[in-house]
């Protein structure tokens, strides 16, 4: 079997362009968080964006209805993300001054589908953080819903499935 049989490829060049654009967005988000470029980070989100980390009800059941269950984070609307940046920038938050250093390593990015102008994409991330009380590494599954606004892809929803049951010390939006 020919290794490069274009006729067999299921991915069109349009799909590849989309994957590159989505990957670029997801990678930039990680970079902005690690570099503390908060305004650039906020700018990736639409005004009605949701930033959400559901909690586990049991070892293998995720709770996915924010109206009726507790979440590790549930921020509805970009204003709630702005709250977090406001808090960090005051330097009045005990947990945020000094800030932990983080590195997000993101991979396994896939475009999973499209409907009504939205793009569903996912990625995995290992986040290593270090601060005065030690280091920790957490595993995260990201599920994005993206949409094109004024010629740019924006994040309408970022759902973070934190696979760790317990985290050490305080965490913030930039640890996810």
């Amino acid at each position: 079997m020919a290794r490069f049989d274009v006729g067999e490829m299921k991915t069109s060049s349009k799909d590849i362009d989309m994957l590159v654009e989505v990957s670029d967005l997801i990678n930039r988000e990680s970079k902005y968080l690690d570099q503390r470029r908060w305004d650039d980070w906020l700018d990736l989100y639409s005004d009605d964006a949701v930033f959400w980390a559901p909690s586990w009800s049991a070892e293998d059941t995720l709770l996915e209805d924010p109206k009726t269950s507790l979440n590790l984070v549930f921020l509805e609307g970009r204003g709630r993300l702005e709250d977090r940046v406001f808090r960090i920038e005051t330097e009045d938050s005990y947990a945020s001054m000094p800030l932990d250093r983080t590195v997000h390593v993101v991979g396994n990015i896939t475009v999973d589908g499209r409907n009504n102008g939205s793009i569903h994409a996912s990625a995995n991330a290992i986040v290593h953080s270090y601060g005065r009380h030690g280091a920790q590494t957490t595993g995260n599954l990201y599920e994005y819903i993206l949409s094109e606004l004024e010629g740019h892809l924006k994040i309408k929803q970022k759902k973070i499935i934190l696979i760790d049951d317990a985290v050490a010390g305080p965490i913030d939006i930039y640890h996810f």
């Binding site: 559901p54 009800s57 979440n71 609307g77 317990a166 985290v167 050490a168 010390g169």
Partner: protein
């Protein structure tokens, strides 16, 4: 369970000279591994420990796996609706019997060798019993599960004790019972744990987490940023009603108080400036029809934090929380938080309660995170042997023996009352009880 043996006496770590205006605690109570080991036996294996809430084990066979100190235990709902707690270890080779933290089973079958136990703790099956123990009648009950001697619930909050010889739970709760009443009685149909929880570890001693849960003095410094963030949000978004946060207490300058509730239990309260932002406010008419005005005032208009000795805090503020503390080592504490809410409350109130919880109480929230960082720093500072003492003498001069006027209206009986939640007199009760348990009798 087999008798308590304490070889070393830790009495001197509490310097109790209140008549001289001195009450202080040696900081090694937080850092010394010998103290920690003794606490696990004297305190955690010696008295009532909070296990779970009854709503987490609703039906016959519902189980909840938890711990008492280092002892894994499982609480199981019985056929008659009662509760039993067992050591969560197979009588044969000690494997944990519950596949999950929470679930439901008619029989718990050990997944190692297949031995099985009924909900009542009877050993009902031994694999290849005849081959292994002979044809003659074999007394399988020898392998019944070890029962935790005491399990009792107070208004839905389930406690267990590895020590049989403890007072009934209601008596042991002392003044804390009245504070649990204030939480429970506000809901006509009772309380339930909302699905979901968050677990985090703190680089610090378990007592620091309990102290922090009823420390009013830190609120206007550590949580100033929370109040400012909320003010900024509300101005930006033009929020109204329950979507707003009750921030008035945080900035201080409101009436407040603190109580030593006896047996190591402690509580603080502060006046709400905008109680209508709390989900409980929807029950105002029902409360006024059913309770004294003094009690309704306590329920609606005062945010309350209760620490039940030694391992749980119950918060009744704009949102409502169970905070369970599990000591791991002198320098490491695991905390699990649950949202507890009114059964049958409407969608708007439930969602408001959850969002307020997530804003404030979580490790990724905007207040608990700051608490954690602060108490981790107090742990680091406690290693300084040249600076040995934590003073808990703030408010000694104004401390009231027994109940103040408000306590009488609320229907609970404190050992001492304090006119401000900034005061530390409540910790006298905690550390005197601690000292009594950590002393050679």
């Amino acid at each position: 369970m087999d008798g308590i043996r304490l070889e070393k006496d830790f009495t001197a770590l509490v310097d109790d000279r209140v008549a001289d205006g001195v009450f202080r605690v040696d900081r090694s109570v937080y850092t010394d591994p010998e103290v920690f080991d003794a606490e696990m036996v004297q305190i955690f294996e010696g008295g009532w420990i909070y296990l779970c809430h009854e709503s987490q084990i609703p039906d016959e066979g519902s189980y909840y796996a938890t711990d008492i100190g280092f002892t894994p235990v499982v609480v199981i709902r019985q056929k008659d609706g009662g509760l039993k707690t067992f050591i969560n270890a197979c009588s044969h080779r000690a494997a944990i019997l519950t596949p999950r933290k929470q679930g439901k089973a008619r029989v718990l079958t050990c997944r190692f060798h297949g031995w099985a136990y009924s909900c009542e703790g009877r050993c009902v099956r031994i694999k290849q019993e005849k081959e292994g123990f002979g044809e003659e009648e074999f007394d399988r009950s020898f392998y019944d599960l070890k029962v935790v001697p005491r399990t009792e619930s107070y208004r839905g909050f389930v406690f267990g004790s590895l020590e049989e010889n403890v007072p009934p739970l209601r008596a042991a709760l002392a003044g804390a019972a009245g504070w649990i009443d204030l939480m429970v009685e506000q809901s006509p149909d009772g309380l339930e744990v909302v699905p979901g929880s968050s677990t985090y570890t703190i680089h610090g001693n378990w007592k620091m987490q309990i102290e922090n849960s009823v420390d009013g003095h830190h609120v206007s410094t550590v949580h100033r940023v929370f109040a400012n963030t909320m003010r900024n949000r509300e101005e930006r978004d033009g929020l109204t009603g329950m979507a707003r946060t009750e921030g008035g207490r945080i900035t201080g300058k409101v009436p407040s108080g603190a109580y030593d509730l006896g047996n190591g239990h402690m509580s603080i309260w502060a006046q709400h400036t905008t109680p209508e932002r709390r989900p409980v406010y929807k029950k105002k008419d029902w409360l006024e029809a059913n309770f004294s005005s003094g009690k309704v005032d306590w329920i609606l208009n005062r945010g309350r934090n209760l620490a039940v000795f030694p391992n749980v805090a119950l918060m009744d503020n704009p949102s409502t929380q169970i905070r369970r503390v599990r000591p791991i080592s002198p320098d490491r504490t695991e905390v699990t938080v649950y949202c507890i809410a009114h059964v049958g409350e409407d969608d708007e109130a439930r969602a408001a309660r959850l969002r307020k919880f997530e804003d404030f109480y979580l490790t990724a929230g905007m207040a608990t995170s700051d608490d954690m960082a602060a108490l981790e720093d107090t742990y680091l500072g406690s290693h300084a042997r040249a600076a040995r003492w934590n003073d808990f003498n703030r408010g000694l001069h104004s401390m009231i023996e027994g109940a103040d006027e408000l306590a009488k209206l609320g229907g609970f009986e404190p050992v001492t009352s304090s006119e401000s939640w900034e005061n530390e007199t409540l910790y006298l009760g905690f550390y005197r009880h601690w000292r009594d348990l950590m002393s050679v009798k």
